[in-house]
């Protein structure tokens, strides 16, 4: 392998039900910065069938679009997708290949890295090009966020990374950009169907895990009763998140154990953590203090949670949350105008 033969920042575009997923658009934003630092181009790699608004990939920053548009690539399956991307890597020789750290990206990227024999860095929160060495610097949390590590992949190409959704920022949309779409044609055979999908079930209710959520609305004993958790649900719905809880709310039986945050529960690091009626015991803080932005609402202004929160509000959550939901709806309407 000659490193010099490899060029370009490639982004795997995730689609579900023919819709391009947000995380991929975010990655295009980051890819533009990286490509600029390297003096190279951004290529979006889309695998699917009759995906809607493919041109948007160009509007959000891709210089080139590679599109494998085939019926048998409609729904994500490990082997057919790996086969397509292996061909892309062999033919186009990208320097960098980015994936969303999603249930698809975290399945596909390691299979692919294994096949083309290159390094893969999981769940990155920061990506940059070293000004001196031009190395691709991939920074990620480990040990539940206790330490950060910057990883490099010096001798193998492409340099591959998965990136947490919500971490990178979309770029401004530019609809004037010329769109070049190149189709990729890969033969998918029966033996590439290494398993059979019997059923595809879409449901918002069966949440995978509070650790996978980008927004957590977390309730503690201060919520008062199980019915009040309904208000937290409404707020979570408005913000595209889910509800988690402190140990206190689990111990009294208001919430199930699997949504408990803390040392004896789960460690979470969402983009937004809203702590409602949670005092902030040390064991709770250990499970959520690495969240990107923490809002705390509590009646007691001496509650330790305020020491960790980026934004604290002293007040009655049962009044503030409904007001907040209203305010978010207004903000959404303004945005959509």
């Amino acid at each position: 392998m000659k490193k010099e033969d490899y060029s370009g920042v490639f982004v795997f575009i995730e689609q579900k039900d023919q819709k391009i997923q947000n995380v991929s658009v975010e990655l295009l934003g980051k890819a533009q910065e990286l490509a600029k630092d390297l003096g190279q181009e951004v290529t979006a790699v889309l695998v699917g069938h009759d995906v809607e608004h493919v041109e948007r990939l160009g509007h959000y920053g891709a210089d080139n679009i590679l599109y494998a548009n085939q019926k048998d690539l409609d729904v994500y399956m490990t082997e057919p997708y790996t086969k397509v991307l292996t061909e892309v890597i062999n033919n186009k020789k990208p320097e960098i290949f980015l994936f969303g750290a999603t249930a698809i990206g975290r399945d596909l990227a390691p299979r692919l890295a294994g096949r083309v024999f290159t390094g893969l860095t999981a769940d990155c929160t920061s990506l940059e090009i070293s000004a001196e060495t031009k190395d691709f610097l991939m920074t990620r949390p480990a040990f539940g966020g206790n330490i950060m590590a910057t990883i490099i992949c010096p001798d193998h190409r492409p340099q591959m990374a998965t990136v947490r959704p919500g971490v990178m920022k979309k770029s401004e949309i530019d609809t004037t950009k010329d769109i070049k779409i190149e189709s990729i044609d890969v033969q998918i055979n029966q033996e590439d169907m290494t398993y059979e999908i019997l059923e595809v079930v879409n449901e918002k209710t069966e949440k995978m895990d509070i650790q996978e959520a980008h927004v957590l609305i977390s309730g503690g004993r201060g919520v008062g009763n199980p019915e009040n958790f309904g208000k937290l649900d409404d707020l979570a719905h408005e913000l595209g998140g889910i509800v988690s809880s402190s140990r206190a709310a689990v111990d009294v039986g208001w919430m199930p154990k699997e949504v408990q945050v803390g040392q004896t529960g789960k460690t979470v690091r969402p983009n937004l953590y809203i702590a409602c009626g949670i005092s902030g015991a040390i064991q709770h803080l250990a499970g959520m203090e690495e969240s990107d932005f923490i809002v705390a609402i509590n009646k007691d202004e001496t509650a330790p949670i305020f020491e960790t929160a980026d934004l604290g509000v002293v007040g009655d959550l049962n009044k503030i949350i409904p007001a907040l939901i209203e305010e978010l709806k207004v903000a959404k309407e303004v945005k959509n105008q």
């Binding site: 290159t118 330490i147 398993y195």
Partner: protein, 261 residues
């Protein structure tokens, strides 16, 4: 049915120390447990054994003290345990780790390989799929349920919003979610067996068909350039005298400033 469960011994606490030279983690002196996703994978294998009959082998790569994790697995009901331990394995990234495990698995008989989705120390979720790739067998990740059906398995494969119900033939590799089950406890007879009746077989690089340049730190495509701890958090702004309407407005503004909404 022959099942191999790959497990990892991970530190139980948040105490983390780093080797200042290699930037890798120092695991000595920190209490250890079986990684939770792996333990649920083991439980799933033991359930298949209870229902359909199976021979369950646990496999780990780690320092000699990983023996303890294997003994616990034996006490839970695993039939056989293998420890891959060698200085040459140290410092491996996910690629080199998965290659080493795959080389050991090549020498074993298996219908099903189970790994945890990810380990709580590294959180990569890469070793399972990479093992399957090295062995050229299919893998299904994020499994929340495994049922046996004739010569295949029915897997509930989770996504962010929903799941795929998948039929797969063996041999294959499954990565397990800890939400799948609550692992059983060791019982007294099991503990007795684990130390008196059963053995932990130890393999080193000499037992594997592998070159030392392919594994460990040397065989790892990725390198740790630097590690650092995040600075301690300081308290943000506290608002005491807002009514609910004002508070709601202020929160929305801050979330917009931070591009969260």
């Amino acid at each position: 049915m022959k099942i191999v469960v790959c497990i990892k011994q991970v530190p139980d606490t948040n105490e983390v120390r780093l080797d200042p030279i290699t930037g890798t983690l120092i695991r000595d002196g920190v209490p250890s447990i079986i990684n939770p996703d792996d333990k649920s994978g083991l439980e799933a294998a033991l359930v298949l054994k209870d229902k359909h009959g199976a021979h369950v082998t646990v496999l780990t790569m780690g320092p000699p003290q990983a023996d303890l994790a294997l003994r616990e697995a034996l006490a839970m009901g695993a039939d056989e345990a293998i420890l891959l331990t060698d200085r040459a394995f140290a410092g491996a990234d996910t690629w080199a780790t998965s290659l080493t495990l795959a080389k050991a698995l090549e020498k074993m008989e298996y219908d099903l390989i189970v790994t945890g989705r990810q380990a709580i120390d590294g959180d990569t979720a890469q070793v399972g799929p990479e093992i399957a790739e090295h062995l050229k067998i299919p893998h299904i990740s994020y499994a929340k349920d495994i049922q046996k059906e004739d010569d295949g398995l029915i897997i509930k494969r989770m996504f962010e919003e929903g799941y795929h119900l998948i039929r797969v033939k063996m041999p294959c590799l499954i990565t397990a979610l800890s939400e799948m089950n609550s692992p059983r406890y060791m019982n007294v007879a099991g503990v007795f067996d684990a130390y008196r009746e059963k053995e932990v077989k130890i393999l080193s690089i000499a037992d594997l068909n592998i070159d030392k340049d392919e594994i460990g730190l040397k065989g790892s495509p990725t390198k740790v350039k630097k590690s650092f701890t995040k600075g301690a958090k300081t308290a943000g702004k506290l608002y005491k005298d807002l009514d609910e309407k004002e508070a709601a407005k202020m929160i929305v503004e801050k979330l917009q400033e931070k591009f969260i909404i």
